[in-house]
């Protein structure tokens, strides 16, 4: 039996964590999608060689501390305002790569105006949108994207569409705007989906470099703690319920 040192010798190296992803222990719950998406963004930044020119805009929500994990310059926005920050950063420094990272409450509730108008102006930025259908950080309240009948702490009997309205399909809405060049819906719960999601993130950054307008990547995600499920159950529930309301695939690619 070969010893560990032989196994991890450089010539046997087939995978290495990108240095753009920091070694800080993530605060996310086991099974949460944030960590995977963070890693994909870090890998894309590494592969495109844009670590020195990328500025991230972090949201309010579980990923408020995203700046602890990806080794680039960051600005932390007020809840929902990331697209406004990104707009100014990009307009004042057009040669930089700018992306916002936002959850569903941030992007599709409190920041709806900032989201729609940044997309409508065709701001040359990337928006990463984590849709897990719930407010994770504040403890599992109803989100604008909570599914009909899905329980949350502020709708314990499940979302009542007659009372709360239907969950908003914000990506479909944004795809209608001339300013967006690429709107896609992805997931990261299987290896195949992770690969597709990474491709989409890479394409979004390439669109920015080609001055094509706003690229939005929605990642349909799980929130095991908020959903009160195990990671495996959450993935299954997402496949069975979330994907039928939020079907995966490109909504726009110009």
């Amino acid at each position: 039996m070969s010893d560990t040192n032989t196994i991890i010798s450089p010539e046997n190296l087939i995978y290495k964590k990108t240095d753009v992803l920091l070694d800080n222990t993530m605060h996310y719950c086991p099974g949460c999608s944030h960590g995977t998406v963070h890693k994909l963004i870090a890998e894309v930044i590494d592969e495109l060689g844009i670590q020195e020119t990328t500025i991230g805009i972090a949201p309010v929500g579980c990923s408020v501390l995203a700046y602890n994990y990806i080794d680039i310059d960051w600005q932390e926005a007020a809840h929902g305002r990331a697209p406004a920050l990104a707009t100014a950063v990009k307009r004042l420094m057009p040669e930089k790569n700018v992306f916002s990272y936002q959850g569903d409450g941030d992007l599709a509730a409190i920041g709806t105006a900032e989201t729609i108008h940044a997309c409508n102006r065709g701001e040359n930025i990337v928006m990463i949108f984590i849709n897990n259908g719930i407010y994770g950080m504040t403890g599992g309240q109803m989100a604008p994207t909570t599914l009909p009948g899905m329980p949350a702490s502020t709708c314990p009997a499940g979302r009542d569409v007659s009372h709360d309205g239907a969950p908003i399909k914000i990506s479909e809405l944004l795809a209608q705007l001339p300013g967006t060049c690429y709107v896609t819906r992805q997931a990261v719960h299987t290896a195949a989906n992770v690969r597709k999601a990474k491709k989409a993130i890479r394409k979004a950054f390439e669109n920015q470099q080609a001055n094509k307008g706003t690229s939005l990547i929605e990642v349909v995600s799980t929130c095991n703690s908020g959903w009160k499920m195990s990671p495996v159950q959450a993935n299954k529930w997402m496949e069975e319920h979330m994907f039928s309301y939020y079907p995966l695939g490109d909504l726009k690619d110009e």
Binding site: A58, D71, W74, A77, A78, R81, A84
Partner: protein, 360 residues
């Protein structure tokens, strides 16, 4: 090249911003200050200095665009009027909490609510006491002429970068709309990326090799660290209070009575002083130019000399609280001011002085 022009206060703000080398203006239309963005759009500074001018979807968005730009070490500003500035309070507390420099112009109109488009000075509390949540302050400059509207753009940016804090130019609908001659300063070049890199080690301009990443944030989950940050913030404000007080004294040397007024009320009171002096009443005026930091010491000194103070402000009485604190209630202090967009006359001020202070 310097130029002498006749223009509105709002227009002077726009021209001064371009000439000073401001990098970005983000705004949303609201009366009585829309000429600021209109002038900028007509001047097209993006073709000359490279300044970015953008009409945002709301004041909430414009102040957050200011946050984004300020975080990159750029000189960025916005302007609005009272209801719009109320919407900006969230952004302002985040800017102060993240220690970002910027300039916000408030061309105040009467409130509360949608109020009126006529001038008022009823946003004093909001400007000098913070306005948003948390223990922070806005350095607040109060121009009393179109010339000062122009000059204070530069002064405000200098203070903003010196203290890494938002600075408010608290104007009002009179100063914004009235036309006066103004000397515009010569054009200065905008800061280069190299200059920003050298001078602002906190600015998010992209993490260079071998450099720590830079983070602009106001969140801190460890309460002890947060407390330390708050103490540091307060120390900064204390330094500002010690070093940045600005004021103007008019005919105070032999004054027996004192008017305290800023902005357009100071212009009106200047006339009141003249008329009162002709009537043989020895009145002087202290005009605070910085409302925060407030000229406390100067007032305390004057309180040992005069018999009473009339605070004149187009409000129900806001600045009077700071005057009372400064003079420690050792002499009578009263308030006079018209409300809701009505402007007091010099004569009304004298009547109020006679009734409330001299006769009181």
């Amino acid at each position: 090249m310097k130029e002498l022009k006749l223009m509105k206060g709002n227009e002077a703000i726009a021209h001064a911003a371009i000439r000073y080398g401001v990098d970005g203006y983000f705004g949303y239309p609201i009366t009585p200050q829309s000429e600021v963005m209109e002038t900028l759009m007509a001047e097209k500074p993006w073709d000359t200095t490279g300044m970015v001018v953008l009409q945002a979807e709301s004041e909430v968005a414009s102040i957050n665009m200011v946050y984004g730009g300020a975080g990159c070490g750029k000189r960025v500003m916005t302007s609005s009027s009272s209801p719009g500035v109320s919407l900006m309070q969230e952004g302002l507390t985040y800017l102060a909490g993240s220690e970002l420099p910027c300039v916000v112009v408030n061309v105040v109109r009467g409130g509360p609510g949608l109020g009126t488009i006529q001038p008022a000075q009823s946003d004093y509390f909001q400007a000098v006491k913070g306005g948003g949540h948390g223990d922070y302050k806005l350095i607040t400059l109060a121009p009393a002429s179109v010339q000062e509207m122009a000059d204070f753009v530069e002064d405000a940016f200098e203070l903003a970068f010196k203290y890494r804090n938002p600075v408010m130019i608290l104007s009002d609908g009179i100063i914004g709309q009235m036309m006066e001659k103004v000397e515009l300063k010569e054009f200065k070049p905008r800061w280069t990326p190299e200059y920003i890199e050298e001078n602002f080690p906190w600015a998010t301009t992209g993490k260079k090799k071998g450099q720590e990443r830079r983070i602009i944030t106001s969140v801190e989950l460890d309460p002890y660290v947060m407390e330390d940050f708050n103490y540091r913030l307060q120390a900064k404000y204390k330094a500002c209070e010690e070093n940045e007080v600005r004021y103007e004294k008019i005919m105070c040397d032999d004054a027996e009575y004192l008017l305290v007024a800023y902005g357009s009320s100071a212009r009106i009171c200047q006339k009141s002083v003249e008329i009162a002096r002709e009537k043989g009443i020895k009145v002087g005026m202290l005009r605070p130019i910085t409302l925060y930091p407030f000229p406390e010491k100067q007032l305390k000194d004057l309180a040992a000399q005069v018999k009473g103070i009339l605070s004149v402000e187009m409000s129900a009485g806001q600045m009077i609280e700071d005057i009372k604190l400064a003079v420690e209630c050792k002499i009578p202090v009263q308030h006079y001011g018209r409300l809701g967009g009505i402007i007091h006359s010099p004569g009304e001020v004298i009547e109020a002085l006679e009734q409330k202070i001299i006769g009181g």
